[in-house]
Symmetry: C2
Subunit: 225 residues, 2 copies
């Protein structure tokens, strides 16, 4: 009997108006006394379900949104990754066979937080956006490691397409620059950043501008195609 529980965990990142990177965590209630711990949104892959399709399904079921950047970045397969005490409490409540190992496939998802914030009720579960630097180191399972690996992955694979997937379809160059600065964890020179953007030729200037801001309104841009 070689079969294994296979799950998907999604590291859903967003970029808020307060210009912080945030990750979406859900509450897992581990007993009937309202004790809970935070965890990444994730679930078991269905039998006969493609892995990427499963990731999309799970993400949609938790956040109601589709057509967002979604990328597999690693597998987490230590046999004891679900074996600590709190994790076992939760598994006993919700799974038939809490002692069986679970291998999980990690996906990163980048979303535009503006699409979510107005109606937090969109989430099918009790969920919170937590600033990356404020994430507890006591998440369920090995979810702290999964988040760290996801952010590492993004740093190594950052490009304009990826960065703009965290922004509204029309965005300012400063917003784009801030995402690069957050993910790369360094300040960038505004003029050089803009030179590089236009050389890469992925971004188009629209005729629209910001409105209602107490300073010179910025032009809005869109991704090519």
């Amino acid at each position: 009997m070689n079969k294994i529980n296979l799950s998907i965990d999604c590291v859903v990142l967003s970029f808020d108006k307060d210009q912080k990177l945030k990750v979406l965590l859900i509450k897992k209630y581990i007993n009937s006394k309202n004790d809970y711990q935070f965890a990444l949104p994730g679930d078991l892959l269905r039998i006969d379900e493609d892995v990427l399709c499963g990731a999309k399904r799970i993400l949609k079921s938790l956040t109601s949104l589709e057509n967002i950047y979604l990328k597999q970045f690693a597998v987490f397969g230590h046999p004891d990754r679900t074996k600590n005490k709190k994790d076992q409490q939760w598994l006993k409540l919700y799974r038939k066979n809490p002692n069986e190992r679970v291998v999980t496939i990690g996906y990163v998802a980048l979303v535009n937080i503006a699409d979510f914030l107005p109606k937090p009720s969109l989430f099918a579960v009790e969920a919170e956006w937590v600033e990356l630097s404020a994430v507890s180191n006591q998440l369920a399972f090995d979810h702290n490691k999964i988040i760290n690996d996801a952010v590492e992955f993004l740093k190594d694979n950052l490009d304009y397409k990826l960065a703009t997937s965290m922004l509204p379809s029309k965005f300012t160059l400063s917003q784009l620059q801030i995402i690069f600065e957050l993910l790369l964890d360094q300040k960038l020179d505004k003029r050089n950043f803009r030179k590089n953007i236009f050389k890469a030729d992925h971004i188009i200037k629209t005729k629209e501008k910001q409105k209602g801001v107490p300073h010179k309104p910025a032009h809005l841009y869109v991704m090519k195609k």
Copy 2:
């Protein structure tokens, strides 16, 4: 019932004296008439076995070697990836439940072919080194895609440590350069290549030289640490 067969497939690459990249393929006999097809070495992950440990075990069981570069690069999880006719014939011979889907985790392994060639009997299965450009496009399952993805992965992640893992412990700079040229698929300038090597500071010159070559003997180098 969500449980899934989880396997490991290893793309074992080597660099032969004829200066070609080769991949290790095994023969899968699909009936009693000696009909076979080629496939990547791989097997089911054991219950309660760490994923990386499983990859090491499977590789060792097929090639007898340990302590080689081994890196996870992707998951292949289409539900129909084991469903074509020839694949089903083989599965019916060797697996209890041939119709069940199998998700596989791809690993790349780089080996020094000199450690293998002298005794092909080391392989526990009937195996062959096949030049990358000569691999049939009729491999079992989705193994052609797995190989292509592995090579892509290596191109994107090439460094000195990785390249030297395909060479004997003492090697010449020309050998190292040829591996880079093969994986990157472009000619490199000898002087610039050497400048970069020494800047990276990962490689140490030994006092030994090649012997018996009909030209100026090259110095031998080793990886640092």
